[in-house]
């Protein structure tokens, strides 16, 4: 879940009707870049300022690139190597790691678990965040700011703290909402924490920790919808819902797609919630999700090759999703209006 947060921090919300996408401003290279600065003056000073702008851009991006190399590209390269060479393992090296990883009897059930989880979590997140962001915009600036703060707060409780909090909230004998749980028909903790309810429990946990930051981003995107378009829609007699559906949502469609893909990649790698809930409540297993299975391969079977192979599979899927975002949706293209 933290990967979606780090990506969210990179993309700040645009203000007003700025033509330049601030994300593009952080990407180095000729062409795009701080075009606002370059528009301001005549040719020679413009070239110098463009050079300064480029240098500053590189300065801002270098720390990220260093960290990306150390903790992103480096481990990726090692995983590719480990999946074939199986360093330190007793299994033979070669492509056997891939076949062991994918032919294990727990692999397909883990894929099914994660797929079912995504089928609930993704729509819940997207629809929930958009509705809440629209609501925040409707209630006006002051109340809206308070609401945004309230939504972001649950995101402060992540990982193991979040699992413990949710365990207490959902255990009928311990929960402050015990009477509501019993009204819903759950009298014992075992009835709540059944393996068939797991996807709902994890979706709730993931939603609670993630929705706040996305509301902030989608709200920012909504603020970028030109006022005159909304005025025009209102003059034409559109209701709130019609304005949202026909004017606002198309205008922020790129951000919605961005949220969908970030949520997808984060959800695909779910690990903490099933791992901790298994330890707490003995429900699920140590190989419920794909990431858990990878950990099990590595540290219970000592099979780093299979674990690397599984991780690379997850990477390929997430990279395909990111590629879709970048090239098909052209999310990082700047619009020079």
């Amino acid at each position: 879940m933290s990967s979606s947060r780090s990506k969210a921090l990179v993309t700040a919300a645009p203000h007003g009707g700025a033509a330049t996408d601030p994300v593009a401003a952080t990407m180095p290279g000729p062409g795009p870049g701080p075009s606002a600065a370059s528009r301001l003056s005549a040719s020679a000073p413009r070239a110098r300022r463009r050079g300064q702008g480029q240098a500053f851009g590189w300065l801002c991006v270098t720390p990220y690139l260093v960290l990306l190399g150390l903790f992103g590209i480096g481990p990726l390269a090692y995983a590719c190597y480990a999946s074939i060479a199986n360093p330190g393992g007793s299994q033979p090296s070669g492509l056997g790691g891939y076949s062991r990883a994918f032919s294990d009897f727990r692999f397909l059930p883990a894929v099914a678990d994660v797929a079912e989880f995504m089928a609930i979590y993704l729509p819940m997140m997207v629809v929930g965040v958009i509705l809440l962001a629209l609501a925040v915009q409707e209630v006006g600036p002051r109340l809206g700011a308070t609401m945004r703060l309230m939504y972001v707060l649950p995101g402060a409780v992540v990982g193991s703290a979040s699992v413990l909090l949710w365990y207490v909230m959902l255990e009928p004998t311990l929960s402050p909402f015990g009477s509501q749980l019993r009204a819903m028909g759950f009298t014992t903790g075992a009835e709540v924490f059944q393996s068939s309810n797991l996807i709902w429990i994890f979706a709730l946990m993931a939603f609670a920790t993630g929705f706040g930051q996305w509301v902030v981003i989608i709200f920012g995107a909504l603020q970028g919808v030109p006022e005159d378009q909304i005025e025009a829609a209102r003059l034409d007699g559109c209701t709130w819902w019609q304005t949202a559906r026909y004017v606002k949502l198309p205008a922020i469609s790129k951000y919605v797609l961005y949220m969908v893909i970030m949520t997808f990649t984060a959800g695909l790698q779910i690990f903490v919630e099933p791992q901790l809930l298994y330890g707490l409540e003995n429900v699920g297993s140590q190989w419920w999700s794909l990431n858990q299975l990878g950990l099990y391969y590595a540290f219970n079977n000592g099979d780093f090759a299979a674990a690397s192979a599984l991780s690379l599979l997850l990477l390929v899927v997430c990279a395909a999703a990111a590629g879709l975002l970048i090239f098909k949706a052209r999310f990082f293209d700047t619009e020079v209006a």
Partner: protein, 443 residues
């Protein structure tokens, strides 16, 4: 941009084809993980100048510190560690080539098969490091430390299952203590009819394996040879347990709640747990504590485990306890063995231990705790001692996760009211798959 997209998608397709080809090629290769076979260990070392790194839990830490003070010639450094990370850390140490602890107190005895495997290569065989007389003092309690005939750990304490019961309530209701499982089932039916709400057992979680199935001799961890395990849930020793539990779960005399759940806790606090087949530490840790069942003094007693028809011995299951392991990578295995031997056998230390010591003379000294304890109606020690040598020898240590299989199959079935008998085939396939994935040959 167009050009980039095309070349990127081309290279992605190429990578996908390569991957698929690789998978096809390797699908024919036979790959076996060797987590099942036992490591032969390394040559015994005795460099007394090295500092031994001891990993312990907080309960055993005072013991290690006492040894350190009374044996200044053995240099040691004591650290507490998180038991859930043990296997992970050892894998990492194997890869970096340094950092292994010399002595570990392992709180999950099921892990010994993993620790002794040729995959992890961690546990050193102790047959030559521990004197024969001491090994005899442990007797059958160290059987759960033996893999392929070699002793890979020393037992600290054992969780032999006994029949705990509330003597006061039992006499009050006019029942007698069952000596066979048939009598136990009949008692359950009586209790369900005359005193609904009271329970005589619990099968709501994976621990039912230790409390019911293991004692019966159900082949789940029946290691019959190196890397070979016999798993057969169609055996009569398994089906008799399943049908008994089905009847008792149906009439409510056996609880569906997990042993450590708030729901069984509530039942226990209301003193409605009439009887509980369970480990030797149930008395002190489940019935006595105020936050647990909080049973008043003078009510709880222990009886011998019920017997199945046709069995000459009333076998128990082995549920919990801890073991001491010496590392193969230690530069001073003799010193490390001295530490674990003292921890396991020292009467003065084990006398104050919280749970039943595995070493027979130490257990004898420990018995004073129970005989002077006003909590028990009658001294349970003779029963505990009797069952200590009767842990069913078919319960071997294995490197596949039996608890995970029971959690995945048995617990949901019990919770939803399904018959255990009907899910035995599913449990069988889950156990067989796990054993095969761990590298065992399943017969």
């Amino acid at each position: 941009m167009r050009h980039n997209v095309v070349s990127t998608s081309r290279s992605l397709i190429a990578a996908a084809i390569a991957l698929a080809a690789g998978l096809l090629i390797t699908s024919c290769s036979s790959t076996t993980s060797s987590v099942g076979s036992a490591s032969p260990g390394k040559v015994v070392t005795s460099d007394a100048s090295t500092t031994l790194l001891v990993w312990t839990d907080s309960t055993r830490e005072p013991g290690f510190q006492e040894f350190q003070q009374t044996h200044p010639d053995v240099k040691m450094k004591i650290e507490t560690y998180d038991p859930t990370t043990l296997l992970t850390k050892l894998q990492l140490f194997n890869r970096t080539g340094a950092g292994w602890p010399d002595v570990v107190f392992v709180s999950n005895p099921d892990q010994i098969a993993n620790l002794a495997s040729t995959e992890l290569n961690f546990a050193q065989p102790l047959d030559t490091l521990i004197p024969a007389a001491v090994q005899q003092g442990f007797g059958a309690t160290d059987d759960s430390c033996k893999i392929d005939g070699k002793l890979y750990c020393l037992r600290n304490d054992i969780g032999q299952t006994v029949l705990w019961y509330n003597k006061k309530l039992l006499t009050q209701f006019g029942y007698s203590v069952p000596t066979t499982w048939a009598q136990y089932e009949a008692l359950g039916a009586e209790v369900a009819k005359q005193h609904p709400g009271y329970v005589v057992g619990d099968a709501g979680d994976q621990y039912s394996y230790y409390d019911y199935f293991a004692g019966s001799g159900c082949p789940v961890q029946d290691v019959t040879g190196p890397n070979t395990v016999h798993i057969d849930l169609t055996d009569a020793t398994c089906t008799r347990v399943a049908s008994m539990l089905d009847t008792m779960l149906a009439n409510g005399s056996v609880s569906k709640d997990s042993l450590f759940s708030p729901d069984l806790n509530k039942l226990g606090q209301a003193q409605k747990v009439l009887m509980l087949p369970g480990a030797s530490w149930f008395g002190d840790f489940l019935f006595k504590p105020a936050s647990s069942f909080n049973t008043p003094n003078g009510e709880i007693a222990a009886a011998a485990y019920p017997a199945w028809p046709g069995e000459t011995t009333d076998y128990s299951g082995g549920f919990g306890g801890g073991v001491y392991v010496v590392s193969q990578h230690s530069k001073n295995m003799k010193g490390a063995a001295e530490i674990v031997q003292w921890m396991g056998t020292d009467t003065a230390y084990q006398k104050s231990a919280p749970t039943y010591p595995a070493y027979a003379p130490a257990a004898q000294a420990w018995s004073q705790r129970l005989s002077t304890d006003p909590f028990y109606a009658t001294d349970p020690f003779p029963v505990l001692q009797q069952q200590a040598s009767k842990i069913n020898p078919e319960q071997h240590p294995t490197s596949f996760d039996v608890q995970a299989a029971f959690t995945a199959v048995l617990t949901p079935a019990v919770q939803s009211g399904k018959n255990i008998t009907s899910v035995l085939p599913q449990l069988q396939s889950e156990l067989v798959n796990l054993a095969k994935a761990a590298g065992y040959v399943v017969k």
